[in-house]
């Protein structure tokens, strides 16, 4: 009898230890992915920032003595058809792509969270109006709308900066509104009102800080999409114009040599992959830390 009891006790203890180990493993994995992601982003950002200081040819210097050179020690990413250093161009391109992607993402988040929170908090016709705008933004083919805005502003950075947030805010608005609908009914919101706090204070101090997390975690994923989007628009000739070095532009120019000089398109492309992976890892960890499963929210 006591032997059975003891073995059951042992079993339970072992099970507890296993659960604990798993918890530690998961936490360690989360910290690892966060650290790895931050490191990858930091590496690329640092490289783009210090590019002018590196012993490299300037991004737009043409060198007809060294066209279509494969990667080597003096040209880590090789050279293109007019002898420009692809590594130097890639790093310089990052100084355009990364800030634009961050800017348009944060504009989308800011606008979306504010409008979504207002819609959920005020309700009524304000809610109806904002949510119909969301429907329009989501229903309208994204690329077409962005291209239309660029057609109005003319090709270049400005069109991208205006066009992308014009659509991008809608996801965050939906996300935040649904969070607000939950928070609005919480008793602490009623308590804030009962204590005689103003509605503005209730909204900004008591509701907003409870609902921006999912939007923030999702925006980490969206930075990646926006980097690719900026590059795609340039690739299509709608974004940043050549000869300004920009990731999409570099890849587009390189694609005609893809069979003979694979490095012109592929190596800048892999830098995009590194940044993208970095933001994805950070986004993943952020979703874990902020305690929300984003699979539902993102769909």
């Amino acid at each position: 009898m006591s032997a059975v009891g003891a073995s059951m006790h042992d079993l339970a203890l072992r099970r507890l230890a296993r659960v604990r180990r798993r918890g530690i493993r998961e936490r360690r994995w989360m910290h690892l992915s966060l650290g790895l992601g931050v490191a990858m982003i930091a590496l690329v950002v640092l490289a783009t920032v210090i590019q002018p200081l590196l012993p490299l040819p300037s991004p737009n210097t043409q060198n007809y003595a060294a066209v279509l050179q494969p990667p080597s020690f003096s040209h880590p990413f090789g050279t293109d058809n007019v002898g420009r250093d692809v590594f130097s161009r890639t790093l310089a391109g990052g100084r355009i792509d990364l800030p634009i992607a961050l800017l348009i993402t944060s504009m989308s988040v800011l606008a979306g969270v504010c409008l979504g929170a207002l819609a959920g908090f005020i309700g009524g016709w304000v809610d109806a109006l904002i949510m119909r705008l969301v429907d329009i933004a989501i229903a309208f083919p994204f690329m077409i709308l962005v291209i239309a805005v660029i057609a109005i502003f003319g090709p270049g950075v400005k069109g991208v900066i205006v066009g992308v947030p014009l659509v991008g805010w809608s996801v965050y608005a939906r996300l935040t509104r649904s969070e607000m609908l939950v928070v609005r009914e919480q008793e602490y919101m009623l308590a804030a009102e009962v204590l005689g706090l103003s509605r503005r204070r209730a909204l900004f101090k008591h509701a907003l800080p409870n609902i921006w997390r999912p939007a923030l975690a999702f925006s980490m994923v969206e930075v990646v999409l926006n980097i690719v989007l900026v590059a795609s628009l340039s690739y299509l000739g709608l974004g940043v114009q050549p000869p300004t070095p920009e990731w999409g532009g570099i890849i587009a120019e390189g694609q005609q040599y893809i069979l003979t000089a694979w490095w012109i398109s592929t190596l800048p492309g892999s830098v995009i992959v590194i940044v993208g992976l970095g933001f994805s890892l950070v986004g993943d960890a952020a979703a874990d830390i902020l305690g929300r499963d984003l699979t539902l929210a993102a769909s």
């Binding site: 602490y188 308590a191 204590l195 706090l197």
Partner: protein, 354 residues
């Protein structure tokens, strides 16, 4: 067990809160308006507690909400008056309400688990009220917060200021809620089933705390509850509500010992008795049969008549006005207004209630 102040008060004194004919309507799908509160009248003296009792959905909470200007949409106050220290509350603008709430009227809720904001520390939430409502500066607010937490019986108050709500037990959170509610020294404290979510020992402590603060601060208190033993413990007066109406009002001892309205009688009988159960052998708990009527489809006349064991045909014409049926009790019952219920054997009913 819990100190109750003597309820002697000079009748000439102006009551702290005087509610007259308060009516709250909710629109229904048909043309009719459901009256969640219908001609509700009562008074609360400073330093006294009124117990508001009745079954779920009888209009207790909505009446309370009206007194702090937060009747849930789409409900509307459609008539009556509520004067706090002589000042009319009903019909205040949103801006005026913001100044009354917290500093004149405060409210505590049933569920202390969700009435504190989870992302701010206890100190942050307490200081917010102190700074906004009492105009204290940061440092003053902090020391006042410590004093308040200490006052509501939280030990090591200074270190508790840095705690988040999830670090506190249910009873502690309710203490914090009470500290926040009294932070701006309100004259009237509304308590909407403040102990329902707590276990029985904590319940006693919280009730004792509310009673103590009420005495110290000379606040009027309205306690909504469907637990008659809670009401018997801490209230001075009681108002029994049924289907949006006050059906009986009076000093708590008189009403519970000698209930006049058949509904009150039913409620008092339905209180579970632990004591004496063995002596009498097993006895089934007396219950009140039936359910309250739908507010949008009230029976004609007395709305309690369909469940009433004393029902008479003329009850269907009765307009449910309150009228004195004993020296201290007002009753909205035709039968009792004609002939008051005689006092039962002394001690008998009291035991049943407590």
């Amino acid at each position: 067990m819990i100190g109750r102040p003597a309820s002697e008060s000079s009748p000439a004194e102006q009551p702290l809160l005087s509610v007259q004919g308060l009516s709250i309507g909710f629109p229904t799908r048909s043309e009719a308006v459901a009256m969640a509160a219908d001609e509700v009248s009562f008074e609360v003296q400073a330093g006294h507690t009124l117990g508001l009792v009745g079954e779920s959905g009888c209009g207790k909470s909505v009446t309370l909400r009206a007194l702090i200007g937060l009747v849930a949409y789409p409900g509307q106050v459609v008539g009556g008056s509520a004067k706090l220290e002589g000042r009319e509350l009903l019909g205040l603008s949103q801006h005026e309400w913001e100044r009354v709430r917290g500093s004149k009227v405060a409210m505590i809720f049933q569920d202390p688990m969700s009435s504190l904001n989870p992302i701010y520390t206890v100190g942050n939430q307490l200081c917010e009220v102190l700074r906004l409502k009492r105009g204290l500066r940061r440092e003053e607010a902090r020391s006042e917060a410590v004093r308040l937490l200490d006052h509501v019986g939280i030990r090591a108050a200074a270190s508790r200021l840095r705690d988040y709500p999830h670090q506190l037990s249910g009873g502690m959170r309710q203490r914090v809620m009470i500290a926040i509610a009294i932070a701006a020294r309100p004259r009237l404290l509304l308590a909407d089933e403040p102990t329902t979510a707590l276990d029985v020992t904590v319940q006693d402590q919280i009730l004792a705390l509310i009673a103590e603060l009420r005495q110290q601060m000379n606040m009027g208190t309205i306690l909504v509850s469907h637990d008659l033993s809670v009401v018997a413990q801490v209230c001075d007066e009681i108002a029994v509500m049924y289907a949006g109406r006050v059906v009986e009002r009076g000093p708590v001892d008189d009403v519970l010992e000698n209930p006049q309205h058949p509904y009150t009688e039913g409620l008092a009988e339905a209180v579970a008795q632990l004591q004496g159960a063995h002596a009498n052998g097993r006895r089934a708990l007396k219950t009140l049969g039936g359910q309250p009527p739908s507010l949008s489809d009230l029976p004609p006349g007395c709305s309690f008549a369909p469940r009433c064991r004393y029902r008479q045909p003329e009850c269907e014409q009765f307009d449910m006005h309150l009228q004195r049926s004993t020296a201290t009790q007002l009753t909205a019952c035709l039968i009792r207004q004609r002939q008051p219920r005689p006092r039962a054997g002394v001690g008998d009913e009291r035991e049943a209630v407590l």
